[in-house]
Symmetry: C2
Subunit: 335 residues, 2 copies
């Protein structure tokens, strides 16, 4: 069991601990080739592995960062996380993933835990509820970057997309295809991202003088979306187009359609706010707003890295634009 320590190597090589330490940290400047060789042999001989924990304690950094994900089941989260891991791997910095399930208490627990573990910085998909905690981190100068969501009044830099404008654009697109009654399905309006999307939706409808019926805004937990949709479509004037607020909502819509024997593209048009990897493989291919998830992850990582290195203290928000990818699902071919 990992018993070999620097002292052992030193003894084996017949030098002192500090010389070994120098060697391991590649500070060869004043070291004789002879000792170098001796130490190297001793290291191999004993199969020495440095203890990062001890090093961390001394150096006050762990070469680990944490990422607190809102919901790991979102494709978007996975892609962002992947990008972050890729980025930090380049610097031999490890990423610890935590899944907060959009639960403020879990979020708090994880943030506390990761800081206790002395991770060098955090990327958070914030629930937005732990305002006190966010402020603490900011005040103490702890490196944090928010992802996907902004929290009102908290000056932590965020990487996000233009939710309002993108939703506006996709609704505009549906209107241009001749739709009058457009509904939207989203998870509860607890976070900025979802709210911004709904605002974009409303704003577009208003701008074009379209019906803005509150019943057309379904905002419910995923498990309840199916029923809500069933009710909505049972009404006298069901919507002719639907916007799914994210990938999970999208899957619920597809399930609902299948069960209700409705066909997308015939019975109603469909668009979704999220990148769907199998968008082309469903029938019909689905119109979507694609977020640049990988780039966003990279960007947030870069911001965090600069904060950690103190290279850049005045890090600003970054807002990405989404891409409207038009496929057949949003066209209505009723005949």
């Amino acid at each position: 069991m990992e018993k070999v320590t620097m002292a052992d190597v030193a003894k084996e090589a017949g030098v002192s601990k500090s010389t070994v330490s120098q060697f391991l940290n590649k500070r060869y400047e004043y070291m004789s080739d002879d000792t170098k060789k001796k130490i190297e042999e001793a290291v191999n001989q004993l199969g020495y592995q440095p203890n990062y924990i001890a090093r961390s304690l001394k150096q006050k950094r762990t070469s680990m960062i944490g990422i607190i994900i809102a919901n790991i089941m979102h494709r978007f989260s996975t892609e962002v996380s992947r990008a972050i891991e890729d980025y930090f791997n380049e610097y031999d910095i490890h990423t610890i993933f935590c899944n907060a399930d959009n639960d403020p208490e879990k979020e708090k627990k994880y943030i506390d835990m990761l800081r206790a573990k002395q991770v060098d910085g955090l990327i958070i998909f914030p629930t937005g509820q732990n305002v006190q905690l966010y402020e603490n981190m900011l005040k103490s100068g702890y490196p944090v970057v928010f992802m996907d969501r902004k929290v009102q009044g908290i000056d932590i830099p965020a990487v996000k997309v233009n939710n309002f404008e993108s939703t506006y654009a996709i609704i505009e697109h549906l209107i241009n295809y001749g739709h009058d009654r457009i509904a939207v399905v989203t998870q509860p309006l607890t976070i900025s991202t979802r709210i911004d999307r709904i605002e974009g939706y409303k704003s577009a409808l208003k701008a074009y003088g379209k019906l803005l019926d509150p019943r057309y805004i379904i905002s419910a937990e995923v498990s309840l979306m199916g029923n809500a949709l069933k009710q909505l479509f049972a009404e006298a004037e069901p919507p002719t187009a639907l916007l799914a607020g994210n990938d999970l909502a999208f899957l619920e819509v597809l399930k609902f359609a299948k069960e209700g024997k409705l066909k997308v593209g015939r019975d109603f048009s469909l668009a979704v706010f999220d990148n769907i990897p199998f968008a082309d493989l469903v029938d019909p291919p689905v119109t979507m707003i694609a977020q640049p998830s990988y780039e966003m992850g990279k960007k947030a990582s870069d911001m965090l890295y600069k904060l950690i290195k103190k290279e850049d203290t005045a890090v600003q928000d970054v807002v990405y634009s989404c891409e409207l990818v038009v496929k057949e699902s949003s066209r209505l071919t009723r005949e």
Copy 2:
């Protein structure tokens, strides 16, 4: 910045460090209510946060485990990882995820790194190539569990499925549906899982006296599958049924079909070895072999936990059975 240490709390409360330590570890046995109160106040006063790094150094455990994933893009890997994280969260043990991309060098780098970080144990989807390394871990008594794959001759406990039998069953199923020419698409045969599946395939064909044409076995990198399929279907006698070796192969098959204007269920039958979450949402719904990924993750976690706690030293392999989920894609309705 996180400067307040146990010594500060001790001074503030007017007691010694050791007493504070006792308090923090809830060893109240011989502690007066008075000191308890004093320490508690001091902790809140100073906003003290314990330093887990220092604790780890002393206790020789980090309350972290590592998981080395073969390929994060597999749904299966994600589900297993999720289960592992869930399990260990119960014990306040953190999980570090690494993605080895099925690359032995990356695998080695990660294993070394995680051990240097003193993580308490490892769950690995092994590439199977770093035999030396596996043996080292085993010999030094380091807690490791293999996931999804077994490595020949290495006595590390593994959690896997009955790949041979399950593939046999699905091929049998296709044969019962009247298929004579059945092809299989899989990634390169570098790991036990894939090899076992191919063996199950061959064995079933043999048992039923069916054609066993080597051209019908496509084993190629994901990016090359499309072309290989095109070639295969351009031959005089294209297969009438296809087994996709996993979810990535499945997506490639769907892409190929779409591009070639072939329709699953009409031009060829399709089955897939993996759980496809949107299996019901593609047209037609797809027959699959579902692996109990969540259970497998739980099981592996449990085994690892026991190894870490030294509760159980003679941990055995666990082999799960898969479920054959028959949908329409495997029936051929040529008329």
